[in-house]
């Protein structure tokens, strides 16, 4: 039975997206060997692409891939001269149904636990942050080394080295392959969410592939840990930010939320984001940030935005995570709520703590412009321009300055 190659690659891509982490994590538990697990999984997906167009797509593609990956792992162990005893153990584990039967309800929990174990181990704080990011993308999300390298603009050999070192440290330093116990869970989950948000932000600006991967991973974490509000908050935040992706750049220039054409905002993302946010019970930092994003998502324009609520949310956020940058955003919101002068007074008081931060003169310029103080605004735009290196940011400031001088 022949299958259309496009259909095959579609199915393979879908299973890859949904099952890669599960397959790799199961293999790591069986073999204790990270590199071997990744290679065997990669082999299995390559085999599927090779065989399915001829032989047809199996009834349960995920189970076929999991089983093939296990066999590839055993082949690799065998050719590496692994003792018969170890191979026997792996085969025995398979027989009692711990591995390979994807979708079998009795073992579902084990498999889900495996995936979480993998995520937490990849994001262990003893690993350097770039290694955590790389390992998560490679091992949990199944991106190739080349893909990760190009996303982070480093040579492939550098990225490969980074992954080798990270796997080696997990083994040599005795980083446990497990879901952290209750007393460590919150702290470690924060670490996982920080890695996912970093991946998302890296992808948000231009590399949409990474943003999609981060959304997938965050969705998986929410499914795996449904009671964790912060995971829901992060996913909601990502979805609400993602909804604005199509509207935030125009002609190579960044547009602020106020300037964006809201008809380009993705309604499906907004709906999912708001629903996800509504399902979060506690109000942690991500939930609060998502609530802020939701205020914008619900408003039809800057004028009709609920600035009173935004200020209140910033106040709450500042109690949790004090930061002058959040204070700056609060000052801007106060400028929207109470008029430009109120915002400017707050920013002036903040300035000494944010010296050289380009968003300070940019915010001052926006408020001065709205207050009608054109020449003072122009001076601040020039100041902001001098501090800005990003081309899209630069173009935005240039345009505002030009508008002012026109």
């Amino acid at each position: 039975m022949n299958a259309d190659f496009a259909a095959v690659s579609g199915v393979v891509a879908a299973v890859h997206r949904a099952e890669w982490g599960r397959i790799v994590s199961g293999l790591i538990r069986l073999t204790g060997d990270w590199a071997l697990a990744e290679d065997a999984a990669q082999d299995a997906f390559a085999t599927a692409l090779e065989r399915w167009p001829e032989g047809g797509i199996p009834g349960n593609p995920a189970a076929w891939l999991a089983l093939t990956a296990r066999n590839k792992a055993i082949d690799r162990l065998r050719s590496a001269g692994t003792e018969r005893r170890k191979l026997g153990e792996i085969a025995a584990l398979e027989e009692v149904g711990i591995f390979g039967e994807v979708g079998m309800p009795t073992i579902e929990t084990d498999i889900e636990d495996d995936r979480l174990r993998l995520i937490f181990t990849c994001c262990h704080p003893a690993l350097p942050l770039p290694a955590r990011v790389a390992l998560t993308l490679r091992t949990v999300a199944g991106l190739t080394v080349a893909e990760i390298a190009s996303a982070f603009l480093v040579p492939e050999t550098t990225m490969a080295q980074r992954l080798v070192r990270a796997r080696r440290k997990i083994e040599n330093a005795g980083i446990p392959y497990r879901i952290p116990p209750a007393e460590l869970l919150e702290e470690r989950l924060d670490g996982v969410l920080a890695v996912l948000y970093l991946v998302f932000n890296e992808g948000y600006s231009s590399r949409s592939h990474l943003a999609a991967t981060a959304l997938d991973l965050a969705t998986a974490v929410v499914d795996l840990m449904p009671l964790e509000s912060e995971a829901r908050g992060l996913l909601a935040l990502m979805l609400l930010q993602n909804s604005r992706r199509g509207a935030r750049v125009s002609g190579g220039e960044l547009l602020t939320i106020e300037e964006q054409d809201r008809s380009f905002w993705d309604a499906a993302d907004i709906q999912r984001g708001l629903a996800m946010l509504a399902s979060a019970r506690d109000r942690g930092a991500y939930v609060l940030q998502a609530s802020l994003a939701a205020c914008h998502a619900r408003a039809s324009s800057a004028e009709t935005t609920d600035w009173r609520r935004i200020v209140a949310l910033y106040d709450e956020l500042l109690v949790r995570t004090p930061s002058p940058v959040i204070e700056l955003n609060r000052a801007i919101a106060i400028g929207m709520r109470d008029g430009p002068d109120a915002g400017l007074a707050l920013i002036d008081a903040l300035e000494p703590r944010l010296l050289g931060y380009r968003l300070v003169p940019a915010a001052q310029a926006d408020l001065l412009r709205r207050a009608g103080r054109t020449s003072a605004a122009a001076a601040r735009y020039r100041e902001a321009l001098a501090l800005t290196t990003d081309p899209a940011d630069h173009a935005q400031l240039e345009r505002r300055l030009a508008e002012l001088e026109a």
């Binding site: 262990h124 003893a126 040599n172 330093a173 005795g174 980083i175 446990p176 952290p180 460590l184």
Partner: protein, 111 residues
Amino acid sequence: MEYMLFIASDQNPEPGVEQPGEIQAWVEEGRQRGISIRGDRLRPIEDATTVRVRGGELLVTDGPFTESKEWIAGYDLIECTDLDQAIDYVSRHPMAKFGRIEIRPMWPLDL
């Protein structure tokens, strides 16, 4: 897993000083949790001697090899189930506050 802990000074310690009995309590905790510990203080760098052999010639110098504002004040050799247990235990060592602690996994040479 066996880990060597380097107990070091740090340029940005927490304010305050170690209270008497803190280190004894830490060792006692390890004993109760079944974490085997072998360790001690080290004499200050004024008492250190550095040895090098270059071109067959013995060079003996006073003090540490490199000039450093931070130095190793002691060591412990601990046996833990994994790095998380080591981190948890080490986090309660008084010098985690007043200095810093480096956890190095042992790399047995099996001689």
